[in-house]
Point group: C2
Chain length 254, copies 2
Amino acid sequence: MVTVEHNAAVAVELVVFTVLDEQLAVLAAVRQVMPFRNRLELPGGFLLPDEDLPEAAERELWEKTRIESARVYLEQLGTYASADRDPRGRVVTVAYLALVPGMSADLTGGSALTEGGRTHEQDDGEDGPELPEERAAEAEWVPADELLDDPDSLAFNHHRILGDGVERVRARLEYSSLGTLFCADEFTIGDLRKVYEAVWDTTIDPRNFHRKVSGTADFVVETGRVTSGEGGRPARLYRLGDVTVLNPPLRRPA
Amino acid sequence: MVTVEHNAAVAVELVVFTVLDEQLAVLAAVRQVMPFRNRLELPGGFLLPDEDLPEAAERELWEKTRIESARVYLEQLGTYASADRDPRGRVVTVAYLALVPGMSADLTGGSALTEGGRTHEQDDGEDGPELPEERAAEAEWVPADELLDDPDSLAFNHHRILGDGVERVRARLEYSSLGTLFCADEFTIGDLRKVYEAVWDTTIDPRNFHRKVSGTADFVVETGRVTSGEGGRPARLYRLGDVTVLNPPLRRPA
DNA sequence: GCAAAAGTGTTTAGCTTACACCCATGT
DNA sequence: ACATGGGTGTAAGCTAAACACTTTTGC
């Protein structure tokens, strides 16, 4: 068997989005080692032997956030290999986009993450091997706008990767029903509208949005239950439907 | 300076499309070495030291096809690293999509490419430059349909990469003016329509297409010249315009 | 004249937008 | 009663699909 010569260190990096406090938020951690020590970075790590790329992305997501992949959408975002992007040598990074629920009670209750603050992530040893040169940092949700506004807020070329991720998730919400993944298991159409408004950073007419969503077959399915005590007429509760591609799309304003 | 351990061989692969004979065609070469000897493969090669990914893609395009990057569109398509995709070891492949003109006289005349699968056309005397690499084969244009229909027609996982490439170029034509890159320097709106029909494998109403293209600002710009002797009323000739994003898009039929 | 391809006009249908208006709850 | 958010109705405007029709060449 002929073998090939390895010429790079391949890593995966995650751009994990959620919607918290009606804002698009991304998962970032304070980097503990040089280079870029004390700078925020996107979670990620090197590919393990015999590991596929989606596998590696799922593993990193679990290790860094304890988020199960069941309710998570993962999609390859792009690959970055600028020779000068990592001062330590030749690193090729495959970035993945991940969308996780933000309003879900079980997520905020059952994970080590806190909203807008820092919390310790317990490393109870049953997961994969710790990377030798990188200690686990505390991951936290940071508003995407905050990081986008300052090109030096993130380590390496992560600012560019984040920018690509934001553009991708904004486009995905136009042409797919993936926005429902940011909601809890049951949600109102108003909840979903707030997700769209957060990601697109715009306002949407509630009446037209309601008609569009409820009129698209299988976008959302009624559960029969309604909300109560939210300060207005009770809203019908929905679960996400089967449709992933919206036709016609929900165009965002120019 | 800390260094990182290399854990994979990173390569770039090209899905080079053109439109020949009113068909979407892709560049492929007969593989000369094991594994997958005598199978068709997409052109590509390993990343060189200190080389960026777009650089490597441009270099491979030039080495394999002698196509200058001036009139070529290059875009990252995706990265593939299935552990079993290459029997020789751990290979991570970054695939690039390339669009090159197909009706251009200088392309068909000055390259070593043949049109229409394995059948040589008229370049009997001028065999084209022998490619310097030892395992380089003669690249040829193959109709994309032909390869898509047979999952075993291509080496490695190239069939899947080609499928992703076809889907990408079809989507690009909806939302961008990149279809003009498949045309010669000067082209008629009918030429452009034939490009769309070839890529989408459909028929388009010539009148509505004409109105749509000529009515979109900067999609195409008139040269003032017209065709003659094409068997009908002379058509105005156009060059590609500045616009890359079509708003509203040119939707393909479902 | 006739075929063929280019280009224009017109009708119809579907979708989006803006907004008037009603519904059902908490206080 | 009134504020608040949920939900429906409707008319105007834009876009695309379908197709009748005119234009300009080669034969």
